[in-house]
Symmetry: C2
Subunit: 204 residues, 2 copies
DNA sequence: ACGCGAGGTGACTGGGCGGTCACGTGTTGG
DNA sequence: CCAACACGTGACCGCCCAGTCACCTCGCGT
């Protein structure tokens, strides 16, 4: 998506441009983001930016793609290693947390991304969602077969529940109450334990 | 928040103005909404609008308040009637669904409301969240005392889980897959059953 | 020494916005 | 009949934006 002109840039400058874009999209959702602000921050001409990327959308898609590639590098190991369903989910979300800790700006970009309303990006967003759904469905089927998960639960329901809680966990990483990382990871674990065990005592 | 001039308006016109504002805030989150578009839709002068409301924020706060009052009228009965914790929660979210069905535009206003980033509305949003949290905490304590809910579960964790799933359920009402209302209500019920019973078989 | 092409530039266009205010209009009461 | 008032109006200000393009600079091969 970026032009050859961008690819050929001095790597240091290319990084500077990329970082500035990340900073912008971390602070503002796509609709309210501004190329003007980005180039002002960078101290380069607006025209240059338009030599690198066709338009604002192209820049955005590029940034989001790169950011998700980075995030993948945190999550993929969890999917590859062998462990039971519930442990894997805990690790999955805990890794999301670590990603957010390590790359707070990247993390904010992903959060804004979900809220994007822009029609021209609709397809792109849906594709990204699809990937997440697939991660889950694969895990889930395996868990049902291995007897870890009740077999009378509709897969779509299960996905919905995890997706909701996961999304909120991830967004919540932004307004962390002032505790320590250890506590945050424990919080994530507790939340997932509730999903595993339920709230009910079974009395009634 | 609206001026006396707005209150004194011919009720039909007042309604028309209100509806137009709802339509705008249903379509666009606050940051991207436009008074200009609203008055264009209404065929009145921009100046008139500014006689009714001090500025865009005041109009928005007014609309959101009214919308939530309407929503309250759907939810309050569920809180007042006597029933056990899990049933109440199911009713609560099912009523949210009915509200969304009956007032799709109002519903969209509430969805956008949560995503608002505007600093000057931060306090307002937090207050509204607080109300929702209180609803839940009250129910939850009662349920623990009555032995319906495990007593080793941190209230904040439980709230977090329900809040996440509830939020996503509510947003999801927008992109309903083309099924019938009955199915939707069943979907909500299933989701809440998962939270009640958990996913795990208990084997391990 | 020079022409050429690659890369960088920023003034400019056309558009949208929130908010203002000097002015028109129609009603009402003295 | 006129003054006071309430109400409606839309041109206008200042600001910000995406995107364009004629122009400039500079290094390199000839």
């Amino acid at each position: 998506m970026p032009s050859s002109r961008f690819e050929n840039l001095d790597p240091a400058k290319r990084q500077r441009v990329f970082d500035a874009a990340v900073a912008e999209f971390a602070q503002h959702p796509f609709e309210n983001s501004s190329i003007t602000r980005i180039v002002r921050r960078l101290g380069i001409a607006k025209g240059s930016m338009y030599q690198y990327f066709e338009n604002k959308r192209a820049l955005y898609r590029y940034v989001v793609t790169e950011v998700y590639e980075k995030k993948r590098s945190y999550l993929q190991p969890v999917l590859d290693q062998d462990m039971d369903f519930f442990t894997r989910l805990k690790r999955y979300y805990q890794q999301s947390y670590v990603f957010a800790q390590d790359n707070p700006l990247y993390h904010q970009v992903t959060v804004h991304f979900w809220e994007t309303k822009d029609e021209s990006l609709r397809r792109f967003i849906d594709e990204t969602k699809q990937i997440r759904a697939l991660d889950f469905t694969t895990m889930f089927h395996q868990a049902v077969q291995e007897g870890d998960v009740k077999d009378n639960i509709d897969e779509r329901i299960a996905f919905f529940v995890y997706h909701s809680v996961g999304k909120e966990l991830i967004e919540g990483f932004l307004n962390l109450p002032p505790r320590r990382t250890e506590d945050h990871l424990r919080f994530i674990e507790s939340v997932l334990t509730v999903l595993e065990q339920g709230l009910s005592t079974g009395n009634k």
